[in-house]
């Protein structure tokens, strides 16, 4: 599997570390909304198809990346910096909203 890092170009998957599901939305650290924390820790969309993921190019530029990987084919349809605009990444929220709208 090759992941095309936006800085380094196409690299073998051995250079990357999986950082988890990219659909999670972390509640505010001060939040006492236990349902939100429970959802953050345990709820997963688990799609058979495109999946938002966070990967780190740990054996390269060390940037954190938002990756869309197809869980059936391993095809990677998009890779971008989590902090491409030097702001907060919005990787999870849009996909989760879309999934919630469908439900």
């Amino acid at each position: 599997m090759l992941i095309t890092c936006p800085y380094c170009g196409p690299r073998d998957v051995i250079e990357f570390t999986y950082q988890g599901d990219g659909n999670r939305e972390r509640p505010d650290p001060a939040s006492q909304n236990f349902e939100a924390w429970n959802a953050y820790v345990y709820d997963r969309l688990n799609p058979a198809g495109d999946h938002n993921e966070i990967w780190q190019h740990s054996g390269g530029c060390r940037a954190h990346l938002k990756v869309v990987r197809n869980t059936l084919t391993h095809e990677i349809s998009s890779v971008a910096f989590v902090r491409g605009d030097h702001g907060r990444g919005d990787h999870g929220s849009a996909a989760r909203r879309k999934a919630e709208d469908k439900a």
Binding site: C8, R11, E15, G60, R62, F81, H86
Partner: protein, 195 residues
């Protein structure tokens, strides 16, 4: 001034080795730069850091990821977004950068004693390096001056191309002797000379 010792020394054997009956196709050396620093810009401060690199080294970084250049004495290349490695034959690079890279622009990490720089040159340099690193070493994909962050056997390394068939490899000092031995073994089949 205290003389710096090379971590390669017990395994550094000057001369020709391996299958060199038909000539050596690899030259291995340790470049021993006096200073190696890594510079990192805060988000949005990259242009100021690039200007500081030019002010200190006289080297104008080309645009683009992994871009770099070397004048044979000083070298610079990008290794991550907003981050650069700079090396100089002379000591004192970190002190020089501390005067121009203010805390508002970014950070300076002095790695002069933390990295060992090994130079591999010759017509089979790409061939030998391809045994270690899963990256494209062809000249169009990896132009002269450019740098790459990558790994060999899960150990991090930085590679700068300093000639059409010459590469400088920055490895952790504590892993340098191990890497050197592996590099010598990998060069045996084509014949190599340690200088």
């Amino acid at each position: 001034m205290v003389e710096r010792q090379s971590p390669l020394e017990p395994e550094f054997h000057v001369g020709s080795h391996g299958n060199f009956e038909h000539g050596v196709e690899i030259i291995l050396t340790e470049t021993r730069p006096g200073s190696i620093v890594q510079l990192a810009a805060w988000p949005g401060e990259e242009k100021k850091l690039i200007a500081a690199i030019r002010a200190v080294t006289g080297l104008a970084l080309p645009d683009g990821a992994g871009g770099g250049l070397s004048d044979g004495v000083k070298s610079v290349f990008g290794f991550a977004p907003g981050k650069f490695t700079v090396a100089d034959e002379a000591e004192g690079l970190a002190t020089a950068f501390a005067k121009v890279v203010t805390p508002a622009i970014g950070t300076i990490t002095d790695l002069s004693h933390g990295r060992t720089t090994i130079r591999i040159a010759g017509p089979k340099a790409e061939w030998v390096l391809a045994k270690f690193f899963a990256i494209d070493f062809a000249l169009p994909a990896f132009p002269v001056g450019a740098g790459r962050s990558t790994t060999h056997h899960d150990i991090f390394a930085q590679v700068q191309r300093t000639g059409a068939d010459q590469f400088d490899i920055y490895v952790f000092r504590s892993f340098a002797r191990s890497f050197w031995k592996a590099l010598c073994h990998a060069s045996e089949e084509v014949g190599y000379e340690v200088q």
